[in-house]
Amino acid sequence: MTEKSNLFKCHKISEGKTSGEVLFSKDGICFYLIDPESGVVIERNHSLFGKSIANKILVFPNGTGSSVVQADGMYQLKMHNMGPKAMIVENADTTLVASSIIMEIPLVDKVDSGFNETVKNKDILEVNATDGEIKLVQKGE
């Protein structure tokens, strides 16, 4: 892999820098329907049902859920250290944006095309939301 294909530009929503393992979600995320003590998704019919999002770089299409529960879900996960390390979203809505900023969880959108083809579950990423950059540092299994 060339250096170039490891680096993806993105747009900062909530600032911060972190690194961690990637987890893709096909479905939208409602943080309230994630168990705060384990980070496990408890929403039936969800593609991540039974899986933990704790300390992952979570990639998902959009937020779902009411104007209240998103912030509270995130807050409780954060208090238990079971929240995502950073989030990469396709369609950001106000609730998701405001919650991430207030809870200080890095969030970006508008990621370079090619990200979804190149990056797979379990890869290790460095997310620098502040400067709008995502780096693929290690391929997973």
């Binding site: 209240v68 106000t94 405001a98």
Partner: protein, 414 residues
Amino acid sequence: MVKLSLTEQQMLNGDFGKGTQTAMKIQVAIAEAFDAPYMVPISRAHVALSNQEADLWFVEKLVSQGAKCRIRPTVNPSFNWDQMGQITNLSSEDLNIVKRTDDAYKKIGALMTYDCTPYLQLNVPKVDDIISYSESSATPFVNSVYGAKTNRESAQSALCAAVTGVVPYYGYLMKENRKGEILVNVLAKMDSDFDFQLLGYVLPLKIGFKIPVFNFVNKKEKNNFSNASLMNLGAQMNTSGNVAIYHILGYTPEANTLEDAFQSNSIPEEIDITQEDLDSVRDKISAPIGKIDFALFGCPHLTFEQIQKVTKIIEGKKLAVPLFIMSSDPTMRLCEQMGILKIIEDAGGNIISNTCMDQPCWKFLYGKKGVTDSPKCAYYTKRRSMEFVITDLENATYSALEGEVTSDRKKQFV
């Protein structure tokens, strides 16, 4: 970079105190996330107070920094500790948090309306008003039915707007972002408010979060929609999805004609929704019919008209299981004044004001099975180990009389 007025810049600098500064900082970050060019003043706000940890943490933080609302917002329900205290034993921990929340919101200058349907009574905007409304069922109502302009604010972002009196200019505040994206031909007859619950729930699963323009092809009265039906439609679209505005062809203010609704001569996409589509979603989200332990209505808060429907069915009879109707305080007082509250209480039911189903005061129902007319109610209580059969309000009321949900079909009554 968002361009701020002199006053807004002073808020950001801290000239108006730390609380206002915090609120403005968050709003500037939101503005930048959405590339908003500047801020605009708001005339109204509604904050989805939730009495949950994050809610209390944030409002107390602003209060401790001396924030005061420039636009006094109405607020969502928590729970009515006086009324619920007579029904169940409230833990001192839950009482403590609900009173702390009450105290903090009073200090910041909120109007303690404790109602999730403020747009029907105490906080009614006009067409083109720029406002900041959180509460996922309130946002679509004020945008769609009244033609006021708000983004789908979170409780916290709306509170920040109430404090600063401005919002970033982006999203649904701009006309071009409010245009319809798909024509939804509803072939089902839609003769009950419950059909609107199901339509609202199924639509985002079918089309994603596009702005729908509804064409109610087979509805008998095309210019008569109950408040409950419109409220249900918006509430459920924001349970299974995230839809801040919808249009109804020939009815809502931005959809006089197809051209109005789509802001164009062409219709980008079209879909048909049938009765089968509505029925299939109910089967998916409802618990199986059978014996029930309680009935819980009012997510969102029942309107006076809905309470009247329930009352007609239970008048002079005895309920087999406890019935709790959540509504606004003004509606409850109206029911009391008109003798409706007494009829409900004589049957063994209650109207509870200022209360939401997603609150710890309902612990005595955990592990039990209830009946409700609201998919939203059933969705959020997954966190609270309550199980619900979902059916229309009339059938749910009959079920409360019998202690059992026996049929999905709506029963005929005089």
